[in-house]
Symmetry: C2
Subunit: 737 residues, 2 copies
């Protein structure tokens, strides 16, 4: 080999590495930023506590129910927020807002806001050009620090730290300019879904600026006072600037600023460390994660982290858009639950008011009504260490709070939605073989939640549920049919764990109770139907009422059709009730063909896979799933069917595109359909699984029908495979016509 | 001597000690709590940073200009405030409010407020019975800690810490329940006189409760939001209780509470340490000053401290009321300036935003336009160590701020009133022989303030003043005649110090300038009169306009008559201008006889002593001064002529009752009139003065005329004695007919 050739080889390898598309390169964070997806295109590290999102909803946010800091089609940008929720249905966080401007200092966002162009969003990176100011803004983040880089034109420039404006409905902040390169403070957030404002809590921050400001200060806009004294109050209801001020400022509408006079085009980097514990911890987070690192260093590290996370699954075949949809969905599953603990392990405990300390990761943002169905099974499969940490976080909450979580947000229990989802997640995790948690404690926790009859915050109406087997329309519990189904699913999960732990009596008790939904089955309608507490049917009854989040008696965020099959643990029993296979499939078809299927909400998201329970009808699952992917999951801002629900919709499409789906949580079994890709390689975590990799292969046309399914060259009987068999296998081959 | 007799003697001594009235026993803090005196009857240690005052102005405070937390004739009490101003004309502080209640928890002061009975107020002690609750409340204080003792009846009881309600016009606070015996937080205060709200600053506190609460929590009343979201906000504009909450709460209308259920009548003590630096320092202040001390211990220590301070002057003769008036006035001179620094020496610097540290006392609340006239000369006489610390505090302010103070409040310069009073105070102090400060630095500071012609925050209009010798009505400076007189007084003070320091050229320059008031003397009216900038008289001109604080052209808080003699350094020159002794005395008489004398304000308070400049008319000083004391200074809540002006009115009556008055500041000379008491013993500070005591004796009827004045048995010629001669003397004897 000549020297020339050697050099050429090296060049070729470098070029191929440089231009080869890595999983991280397929992420398009704009997906879900329209059509109520409620994701944002800001920069975040995997499961980051901090994120930096463009905030362009200032005008619209107070005119209705708006749950995200950014909507693609809006165009008036008022800053960049440093703690954000992704894919949720309620407003909260969206605070600690920075904004670079030029010229005179303006602190009112309606005055300083601007249109923008040249948006770029990647995993861990966002950039935009602010039209009014010609400032290029770039964002990146570590786990607990948001990092911004502003490229200012020559002249007077400002960096605002606005603590008034935010997405949360809570108000109240403090701020203190520490020096010409540092600002510290806190902002109150909370009242997610307008619930529990009594629990509103602080998020602390420390902001460091790479260039010393030529001038700095704070501002405060006090509320307008209407009494006699108003005549003497110079700033009554008006913003007052406090130039050079270095004392603590407190109020609802306050901020601080750094001001510069640049002789030439200049770049300033701003790092904002956050903490839910204290300013000191925010400062330590900032220092430990970003000291001596500039913007480019931070972005490089975060990009590498994203690529490593996303490379857990490698796909081949499929279009570029398919890959973008897949990897963006996988990216969206790695945002929530997110890290709550500081670098030093400190975190606010739930309910105790104390500061706890963890050695692992304390996760937060558990939207469990959404995520128990498919998200946590997916995490158990792809990221079992994360899932283990999540279960341990849930158990810590139980220890702190006395109850497992329902919809936990930054150590507050928001009690959003219904049901008792934590037992399902924990039992499912254990049954999938992830067992590095105290299962007896977990079992005790779930039994407590399932069986306390009075003053049970997790299960309203539990007394009636255990007495009659169902919740009645006049029992006081919300959406009694939906909630009965949810409790059944939880009781089934407990029964399965009881069985595994050898608790036979409990197994029997909870399993029997898990079938109590049958008492609500109206054999004439062949649907579950609300009942009165005396056992009579609730009338008049309209099974169509309740679609599109319309309020109705009996159901939560859905109607009788959408809840008709939500007994995933007893599909065969339901089939029998409905009158057999034919009636079952006819009902399913009716739902899909008559616009009763709602891809945007969780109760029915497993339904397209239910045809697999009817031998000979499996092709309908194959067909419907591909149709749903094509219709609802696209490489566009509106490419999610609705709220991402902290990754649940994304988990659905990740599974669907891999060709498997965990059709009944706490039943460690996958049902199989057409993989979108010709090959899906899952790099398994060998701490939890025997094999290093599992490959799911598709041969034949993606739109064809499945002819056969083979696991390690053995034909599968039917369209189901146990979690254990699948993950102990090496190749699942799905052959299509 | 028999044993019996011996025992009897001892008993007699003990009895006489126990029942003997000490100076401290003559203090009646209710004096000045009505008739706009603006003092309060709360508990305070000498020159304390903290004080605890009943707060009974909640209903009235927002209906007008109200500058004190308590007015005697009001009757609706809503708590006890822990930082307060005494005798000032503008609202500020009056925050960190505690309130004991019984029964259900109520946080709205209009609901929990109560009438009260059995008020007792002494130096360092206040008690009251709260009618609605039958709770006895007692208050005392150390320098930096307010201590309360609540005696609750059996049953449910609450201690509220209300951080919303306050006298200041600033809003904003944070609070955090640390445990069932401790609460910490901060409250924003500032915008004294509705000025400089940009400088609003924090006061921090730590509250410790002697009994662990059975329940605790915080509350917050958010502002009312009127947008679409209001329908979803459960607590929109309504107070929300946060039971058991231990995170930081921030807002304008917030508080925290401790709740108890007492089986029997129970006493709880609450200690609140304050600091203008940090929560940590507030906690240290609390611990260093009150750890292991209960209410009784604290009160005993503070009472002893008061008695020691007040015993500097011992009076004999005079009625019990005379003694009460005298010692209460002396007490009122020991409230402001007060301590700003924490126990560890930390204090917020002025203007720099930094935290400084002092070895001596850093004083604050310098109402210098008021106090330069008589208050600081009195402090130099009675408490030279305090006066020295005050001058050093003023010089530290100069070092921090670049300017001497004008009306300094907690390290903010409020720029209240006019003139340039600091040089007068400093020169006067030096000339009275108190010299333990850097006089050259002080001189440089006063010259800077006196001579900077542009952008001089202390002397608006200084350019015109030096150019023309007076400020014109169209020069932009407020009250141009008054302010010209003030600048003259300051320049005279500087000239006297220059002379003492051997700076002959400066002496000449400033002395000449100090007589420039003559340019405003209208020889027709024989009054000072406003001029236009072109030198012509301002017309039409009404010399009566401006009495009773009425706004007018030319004068500040007064009219031409009230300012007619305010050139104390050049009374002889003025006499000449007026046409001699006769015209001078006739003018003086006119003022007193025609209701143009205002005892309630500073410009003319030396006037009753001016008859001493006219040989043969001194009896008029004697007569007028006794009349003024009898009329305006009484042992009643309305026993001050108006605002105490941080002790200036009290200093007037202390001097007047001792029979001496410093008629021209920076001229270390006293003029002499009838002492109220038959003997006044001043225990001199021997660090500064040669003798241990000076006795001022009166013989003859207090309403008689003075026949002769003798110092150490030598007849004085005239009615003046130098500071040096007087304080080097031992007995000043004033003989009346």
């Amino acid at each position: 080999m000549s020297i020339k050739f050697k050099i050429l080889s090296i060049v070729l390898v470098v070029v191929s590495f440089a231009f080869g598309q890595q999983p991280v390169d397929y992420v398009n964070p704009f997906i879900g930023t329209s059509n109520f997806g409620a994701t944002n295109p800001g920069a975040i590290a995997p499961r980051g506590m901090a994120s930096v999102s463009p905030f362009n909803v200032a005008v619209q946010k107070d005119a209705g129910w708006l749950s995200n800091p950014y909507v693609k089609q809006y165009n008036f940008l008022t800053g960049f927020t440093h703690v954000n929720l992704s894919g949720v249905g309620c407003p909260d966080l969206g605070v600690i807002l920075t904004m670079p401007t030029t010229g005179d200092l303006k602190t009112n966002h309606m005055q300083y806001g601007t249109t923008y162009t040249d948006e770029v969003s990647k995993a861990g990176y966002y950039s935009v050009n602010l039209s009014k100011y010609n400032i290029k803004t770039e964002l990146t983040a570590t786990t607990r620090v948001g990092v911004s880089r502003y490229t200012f034109p020559a002249g007077e420039s400002n960096i605002l730290l606005n603590l008034g404006l935010g997405l949360t409905n809570e108000q109240g902040a403090t701020v203190k300019v520490v020096s010409n390169t540092e600002i510290e403070g806190m902002r109150t957030v909370g009242s997610f879904c307008y619930n529990s404002p009594e629990q509103a809590y602080p998020v602390y921050f420390v902001a460091k600026f790479s260039s010393p400001a030529d001038e700095f200060g704070a501002w405060k806009k006090p509320y307008k006072y209407n009494g006699v004294e108003a005549q003497w109050m110079g700033y009554n209801g008006k913003t007052r600037l406090m130039k050079g001020f270095t004392r603590e400022v407190v109020g609802d509408s306050i901020g601080a600023y750094m001001r510069y006079n640049f002789k030439k085009k200049t770049t300033v980097e701003v790092k904002i460390g956050v903490s839910y514990v204290s300013i000191e911890n925010a400062r330590e987070n900032l220092e430990k994660e970003t000291a001596n690192k500039n913007f480019d260093d931070v972005y490089a590290t975060t990009k590498t982290a994203w690529n490593k996370t996303l490379s857990t699954v490698e796909v081949k075949g499929g279009s570029a858009d398919d890959k973008t949809i897949f990897y963006t969905a996988l990216y969206h599953t790695q945002i929530h639950p997110n890290t709550l603990n500081d670098y030093n392990g400190d975190y606010p405990e739930i309910a105790t008011g104390k500061i706890g300390n963890t050695k692992g990761t304390r996760y937060t943002v558990f939207s469990l009504w959404d995520t128990y169905r498919n998200y946590h099974p997916l995490m158990s499969t792809l990221y079992p260490e994360q899932q283990s940490n999540m279960v341990n976080s849930m158990l810590s909450m139980y220890k702190e709070n006395g109850w497992l979580p329902k919809w936990e947000l930054n150590s507050t229990e928001t009690f959003t939605m219904v049901g008792d989802p934590a037992p399902v997640v924990i039992a499912d995790t254990y049954l999938r073989g992830i067992r590095d948690f105290n299962v007896e404690e977990a079992y005790a926790a779930m039994v407590k939640g399932a069986t306390e009859l009075d003053n049970n915050p997790l299960r309203p109406g539990n007394k009636e549920y255990w007495k009659n087997g169902y919740l009645s329309v006049n029992g006081g519990a919300e959406g009694p049919v939906s909630t009965t189904e949810e409790y059944n699913i939880a009781d089934f999960a407990i029964s399965q764990l009881a069985k595994e732990l050898g608790k036979k009596a409990d197994y029997k008790k909870f399993y029997n109770q898990s079938l109590s939904y049958k008492k609500l089955f109206d054999s004439k309608l062949k649907l579950l139907r609300p009942k009165n507490s005396d056992g009579s049917w609730y009338t008049p009854f309209d099974p169509y009422k309740g679609a599109n989040f319309e309020k109705n008696v009996g159901y939560i965020e859905g109607n009788a059709w959408q809840y008709a099959f939500m007994v995933p643990h007893d599909i065969k029993g339901l089939m029998k009730l409905m009158g057999g296979k034919k009636q079952f499939v006819s009902h399913l078809d009716y739902i899909f063909d008559n616009n009763q299927f709602d891809m945007a909400n969780e109760p029915d998201i497993a339904y397209p896979f239910l045809y697999n329970y009817s031998k000979g009808d499996e092709w309908k699952t194959q067909k419907r799933v591909q149709q749903l992917i094509n219709t609802y999951f696209t490489n566009t801002p509106s490419g999610l069917p609705g709220n991402d629900d902290t990754g649940t919709m994304s988990a659905w499409v990740v599974y669907a595109m891999m060709g498997i789906y965990p059709v009944s949580p706490a039943t460690p079994v996958y049902t199989i359909t057409t993989p979108r890709f010709s090959s899906v390689t899952i790099h398994l975590n060998t701490t939890y699984y025997k094999n290093k990799t599992l490959i799911i292969k598709r041969t034949g046309n993606v739109n064809g029908k499945i002819n056969s399914i083979r696991l390690d060259n053995k034909d599968l009987k039917g369209y189901f495979v146990s979690h254990k068999n699948l993950l102990n296998g090496t190749v699942l081959e799905v052959r299509l016509e």
